[in-house]
């Protein structure tokens, strides 16, 4: 067969395995007309309408209140999806386009991994199982505690896949994690094409070897990846959004491998582990081999009342003073933005929340050790790590702190091999079940680790 002309080859790289709106194709009307006429691209309806139930074929939304109607004088109204409108409007008049032309080639990289660090025996075990899962196109759950060194655990598997000319995707719920992960992966896989995708990123995926993306970016993919690694499978939005598992499944090729990562599986995942519906490898130890810090419980009488009256209980100020005297840096978690703000004013410590404009700046300043403490809502609960810090939660009994959140927050402490212990303190008024379970989790993981020694 003759090679396709260069333009077609380039378009194949851009469009293969994707579901794109017309404006996302970013081609001239003339080229667009040519591509449709020669069936190189084909439209798929954006909204499926059967028995008066609408389904958005990009985000799989089916909730009636997340569809809108645009009236028209001349034709029937247009139905559009509100759920994924931030990525451009999908409607009954705005189809999604898929590539039907020749499949693009990807340069094979024989030795993609240029990393010479060492894995712990447990990391090694997880790595080998992942390679097996890739070879046998099956699923695998890596159940690893916070700080187990999961990124390095993935290296061997990713390298194996790429050397077999397989396309790999790492999907994670947070853009912060994409930004942290991408430069590390580029450094350790220097010869491959990698694309980091999140809302607002400027990078493009032209059939790259490795795509590192927020889970939402997968809405633009169909049958694209041979290996899909879903990071923090228990975390928002994967957990709350029932349509996202469908989206992940669609983004994968028919015969492909799915790897799930979690430190805190939800009930449904725990059931699947217990009933052996999904092969699981458990890593109860941190990469540095030291146990997880066990949370200290500090009950405070009338904590809620005191905070409402803008009084900070002495036990808390004492904890803060101790850190300041011993020059320990710390994170203080608050259940609400309002409380974070009040505490920030009182304690003269900066605070961050999901929408704070200087969020990235403050996080970076904290990491660079220019700030010694930070007050935060649950946004810093996962993903982002700082070496050598202590953590405390104010109102750990608040409902926003469920078991997974508490475990993740406790998991922020003691991450560094040079400083593997860190203090974790829960300040509360009435002990919650989540708190008890979170502490039990830590104790269980530590004894599981002990048994492995």
């Amino acid at each position: 067969m003759n090679n396709p002309p260069p333009l077609i080859e380039e378009l194949a790289r851009r469009f293969t395995g994707k579901l794109l709106l017309k404006h996302e194709l970013n081609v001239t009307q003339r080229l667009f007309d040519y591509l449709t006429k020669h069936h190189l691209i084909e439209p798929l309806p954006g909204i499926n309408q059967t028995f008066h139930i609408n389904t958005c074929l990009r985000c799989m939304n089916r909730k009636p209140h997340l569809f809108g109607k645009i009236p028209s004088n001349s034709t029937s109204p247009t139905i559009y999806c509100k759920n994924c409108i931030q990525m451009g409007r999908v409607s009954t008049r705005e189809p999604l386009y898929i590539w039907k032309g020749p499949q693009p080639k990807r340069p094979v990289v024989d030795q993609p991994l240029q990393w010479h660090g060492e894995l712990t025996p447990l990391q090694e075990k997880a790595s080998d199982q992942m390679v097996e899962a890739i070879a046998s196109q099956s699923q695998l759950l890596i159940y690893a505690v916070c700080g187990a060194g999961k990124t390095e655990m993935l290296y061997k598997g990713i390298a194996h896949a790429i050397s077999q000319n397989k396309r790999v995707c790492i999907a994670t719920p947070r853009a912060d994690v994409v930004k942290e992960l991408a430069p590390r992966l580029r450094r350790d896989f220097p010869a491959i094409d990698a694309a980091a995708l999140y809302g607002g990123s400027t990078e493009k995926d032209f059939n790259a070897h490795l795509v590192i993306a927020t889970t939402h970016q997968l809405l633009r993919y169909q049958h694209s990846f041979d290996v899909t690694i879903v990071d923090e499978v228990d975390a928002f939005p994967y957990h709350h959004d029932r349509s996202l598992p469908k989206v992940v499944k669609r983004a994968t090729k028919p015969n492909s491998t799915l790897i799930f990562l979690t430190a805190t599986p939800r009930l449904d995942m725990k059931l699947r582990i217990a009933t052996k519906q999904i092969p699981t490898v458990s890593i109860p130890v941190r990469y540095h081999g030291h146990p997880l810090p066990i949370p200290t419980f500090k009950s405070i009488f009338r904590l809620q009342k005191q905070l409402e009256q803008l009084q900070i209980p002495q036990v808390i100020t004492k904890w803060i003073n101790e850190r300041e005297q011993s020059q320990r840096r710390f994170l203080l978690f608050a259940p609400t933005i309002t409380l974070a703000e009040e505490l920030s004013k009182k304690l003269k410590i900066p605070y961050v929340h999901a929408d704070s404009p200087d969020r990235n700046y403050l996080i970076q300043q904290f990491r660079a050790r220019n700030i010694k403490a930070l007050i935060t809502t649950t946004i810093l609960e996962r993903g982002v790590t700082f070496p050598s810090i202590d953590v405390a939660i104010i109102q750990a009994d608040h409902q926003v702190f469920d078991e997974a959140a508490l475990i993740q927050i406790a998991g922020r402490a003691g991450r560094s091999a040079h400083d593997p212990t860190g203090d974790v303190t829960f300040f509360y008024e009435l002990k919650s079940n989540a708190m008890v379970r979170a502490r039990q989790y830590t104790i269980n993981k530590n004894s599981e680790a002990e048994r492995l020694k």
């Binding site: 209140h65 997340l66 809108g68 109607k69 645009i70 009236p71 028209s72 247009t78 559009y80 509100k82 409108i85 931030q86 451009g88 409007r89 409607s91 008049r93």
Partner: protein, 225 residues
């Protein structure tokens, strides 16, 4: 009912405040509603720009450029804060048509307060055919239907499609008028638009209409930026 901005169910979050003061809009939750900011005085008497002087600098400048200002008065409801910016971006650029449901009631109320006795013809600022096709609707027309089922969309048309937002302030104040009339205009007109920034667009419309024989032009805009 679900909030048209944040999509949360509103039964779940009825607060004491809702019970004390009946909800203004049934399409928006209290939390979102609180984030829109009403235009507050002191403002220019003519265009509602925030201004200590009774006639603002902009309006004086227009007077100079056009000799007589074709626009009699502009009334705006909200200021352009970040929350509004996001809402308008979703409405106009992403094309979330139904977001305008949250403003329908206040637009009608504002119309009744200022213009009900004036016997005005409601006329949304037109979009070019191209942009209308692309977006699927005209946002000004969508807002105008809060006041009347049949706003006048025939008299005025827009020819070019140059993007206002890409031009500098000077360019916008001096750019060529893209509006034309297709039939003799009604005598008294209320122009409707989403946002009043420099006033160029509204005044270009007003000028075109006046030259074609209209007697008085006022405007009602959702936002004064």
């Amino acid at each position: 009912m679900y909030c048209h901005i944040c999509f949360k169910s509103m039964q779940e979050e009825t607060t004491w405040k809702d019970l004390l003061t009946p909800k203004l809009f049934e399409y928006i939750c209290t939390e979102c509603e609180d984030q829109f900011e009403r235009n507050s005085s002191p403002t220019c008497q003519k265009c509602m720009k925030r201004s200590e002087a009774s006639i603002c600098h902009d309006c004086k400048l227009w007077q100079q450029i056009l000799t007589t200002d074709p626009l009699e008065q502009n009334i705006s409801i909200y200021t352009y804060n970040d929350f509004m910016k996001d809402a308008i971006a979703r409405f106009k650029y992403r094309g979330d048509y139904e977001i305008q449901m949250v403003w329908r009631k206040i637009i009608l109320e504002t119309f009744k307060k200022y213009f009900i006795h004036d016997k005005l013809t409601i006329m949304p600022i037109p979009l070019s055919e191209e942009r209308h096709q692309e977006r699927g609707f005209n946002q000004a027309e969508a807002l105008a239907t809060s006041i009347t089922y049949e706003p006048d969309t025939k008299t005025l048309i827009r020819i070019d499609s140059g993007k206002q937002s890409k031009k500098s302030r000077y360019e916008r104040m001096h750019s060529a008028n893209p509006f034309q009339t297709t039939q003799p205009p009604p005598k008294h007109i209320l122009l409707i638009d989403d946002i009043f920034t420099t006033g160029t667009t509204i005044r270009q419309c007003a000028q075109t209409l006046k030259q074609a024989g209209a007697q008085s032009i006022k405007s009602l805009t959702l936002i004064r930026s």
